[in-house]
């Protein structure tokens, strides 16, 4: 089999941290404790220089930025109708911003920026200010084509989260999920946090369990196109998919290792399903479990040394972890009669899973080494948890007496948000790593 190594160099020359503020004047870390209040943030329109193209893009940038900051559950975006400042004439830098205007509308943090458009390209320069301190915590200059406006805004939102909390945000990423929208049986779609949804398969059959490659350029999924469940790999750059595992029987739950070189999956043999590890470049498969019970739902620890999975070997489905070598098996869940779909947080600290409670399923989080699970969801029935790349949030599918929808919640169980609109059944979300950014180099100057 051919191994295609694509080396793409992403120049992030757009990154110009304009002034790095010391820690004391900013609110960091602790702000995300349980019961923390929202930070009131002002996000006025960008100051425009250039042609009308940049006006549309400028509005889109701010709209997406505001949306992400609200979605984060960390900020409350102050209603722009209340702003006193005129964005086209007021200052952009620490020395020229009128902080009193922003203090008076209740802002603790201010995002102030400008945009320049040159035809189909866009250059945005944004600074983040602490209103009480009259100080700036940093800034970013980005450029690219206008088609990348939303992504620039996502990256800016992620940067704002980093300045204010010390942890980069997750919004420049994608969800993959299964949907029956558009009258199709069940196909795989991708979702961006600005609401853009794209159909990425055309199998005209039942698809399930999408799972991202760490580069966010490929997806694993299972499809019944051949009338039985086969594991496919989809290259999102080309749109072509190919079969990875099509052994007679079940092939499901494909999961790429953190370095993208191996795949875990559940495969059936004579009626029994076990976890296997697949090396696609060598065409080699080896079983990791050989128990007569059902072993499914494999997931990797972020260091690639351990795995989690769901097994019924103790009599009911429960969550287990094990070394990738097949030893050191540990049972992690003990309460309830059905705990499955385990996923390891990218920072390695927690494992989330779906557990049955009072006849319905809910999302739980527990320390990765085991311990008391904390219930995150309480409404309806919720399954298929997946972690955000910053380990702060979980997305999952929920049923509240209607269609299945994709939701997200923070890992403390606060601020549940509905992400898909409920006009179709949407399930099995998988959250990608942060996307890489390709931009042309620009001269860096103050």
């Amino acid at each position: 089999m051919k191994r295609i190594a694509a080396v793409a160099i992403a120049g992030a020359a757009l990154l110009c941290t304009l002034s790095v503020q010391s820690v004391q004047a900013q609110i960091r870390g602790e702000i995300i404790g349980a019961g923390a209040r929202l930070i009131p943030i002002a996000v006025p329109a960008l100051k425009r220089t250039g042609d009308m193209t940049s006006d549309r893009a400028a509005r889109r940038f701010i709209e997406v930025l505001r949306g992400d900051l609200e979605l984060s559950g960390i900020f409350r975006v102050i209603d722009p109708a209340a702003y006193i400042d005129d964005p086209q004439t007021s200052g952009l830098t620490r020395d020229t911003v009128n902080f009193e205007n922003w203090r008076s509308v209740g802002a603790m943090t201010l995002i102030r920026g400008s945009v320049k458009g040159t035809g189909s390209d866009l250059a945005v320069e944004v600074r983040v200010f602490d209103v009480a301190d009259h100080s700036s915590s940093g800034g970013r200059r980005m450029s690219g084509s206008t088609t990348q406006t939303a992504r620039m805004a996502h990256r800016m939102a992620d940067t704002v989260l980093e300045y204010l909390t010390g942890i980069h945000g997750p919004f420049d990423s994608r969800l993959a999920f299964v949907s029956n929208r558009g009258g199709h049986v069940r196909e795989i779609y991708t979702y961006s946090f600005d609401g853009e949804v794209k159909k990425v398969t055309n199998h005209r059959s039942i698809t399930m369990a999408p799972s991202w490659h760490p580069s966010a350029q490929a997806l694993l999924f299972t499809s019944f196109r051949s009338r039985a469940p086969v594991l496919y790999s989809l290259d999102l750059r080309t749109g072509y998919d190919s079969r990875l595992a099509s052994k007679l029987g079940v092939n499901v739950g494909g999961s790429y290792s953190p370095d993208g070189s191996r795949v875990l999956l559940a495969r059936e043999s004579n009626g029994n399903t076990d976890i296997h590890e697949l090396d696609p470049s060598r065409g080699k498969v080896r079983p990791l479990t050989t128990h007569w019970a059902i072993d499914v739902d494999p997931g990797w620890a972020p260091d690639g040394r351990r795995i989690v999975f769901c097994s019924s070997r103790s009599g009911t489905p429960q969550v287990y972890s094990m070394s990738i070598g097949g030893s050191d098996l540990r049972r992690l869940t003990f309460d309830g009669n059905y705990n499955c779909s385990p996923v390891w947080s990218p920072d390695g600290k927690h494992i989330a899973f779906a557990g049955q409670s009072n006849g319905r399923f809910q999302i739980y989080v527990m320390p990765a080494e085991g311990g008391s699970p904390r219930q995150l969801t309480f409404s309806g029935s919720n399954e298929d948890p997946t972690w955000s790349p910053d380990s702060r949030y979980l997305a999952y599918s929920g049923k509240r007496g209607g269609r299945r929808k994709i939701y997200m919640i923070d890992m403390h169980g606060r601020r549940e948000r509905q992400l898909t609109d409920g006009s179709s059944d949407d399930s099995s979300p998988s959250w990608s790593r942060r996307l890489e950014y390709r931009a042309k180099r620009t001269n860096l100057s103050r």
Binding site: M208, A209, R243, G260, P280, D297, S341
Partner: protein, 169 residues
């Protein structure tokens, strides 16, 4: 501007990944057997979503029920198995595909594995009643092809089934 210093960060991100599988459009099964001709020939529920189980020669296969998270066959289920075995006996040329299905609760991947066990359980029971294993194949649809979508025990029970369809050639 005092203590601030401009930090220029240039990140060169190398994206390297192996495109798993053949990048060409051949797309054949890479590691194991292709699906058998019988599997390919089965007119299973995937086409019309509710294969009636009717047999061309006459008779109707009965769905075999299961308890939650179980692949065991109780008395009622065995009754259905016996009925299905009788149809197979009466039509010696008949081949069948046995589908395993689950209700919507729980992991869809676990349900795919459970469905496989259910299909297998029905097949094994029919082998036990004298039907040749060569006449039956199995497939699992997990929770993916429910008969009904209500959130109720009766709907769930309906979905937990082994469903037989005639394999036509």
């Amino acid at each position: 501007m005092g203590n601030k210093s401009a930090v220029i960060v240039t990140c060169l991100l190398a994206i390297t990944f192996a495109t798993a599988g053949c990048s060409s459009k051949r797309g054949g099964g890479m590691y194991d057997n292709e699906l058998s001709a019988d599997q390919m020939a089965a007119e299973s529920s995937i086409d019309q979503f509710e294969g009636t189980g009717e047999v061309a020669a006459g008779g109707v296969f009965q769905d075999v029920g299961f308890g939650f998270d179980s692949d065991g066959l109780d008395a009622t289920s065995m009754e259905a198995v016996r009925n299905n075995a009788a149809i197979m006996e009466a039509n010696p040329g008949l081949k069948a595909e046995i589908e395993g299905h689950c209700d919507e609760r729980g992991s869809s991947e676990y349900n795919l594995a459970l469905g496989a066990r259910r299909a297998r359980a029905v097949r094994d029971a029919m082998i036990g009643l004298g039907i040749s294993h060569e006449r039956m194949s199995t497939v699992s649809y997990g929770e993916e092809l429910p008969l009904c979508k209500d959130t109720s025990e009766s709907c769930w029970a309906e979905n937990r089934r082994g469903h037989l369809v005639e394999l036509r050639r």
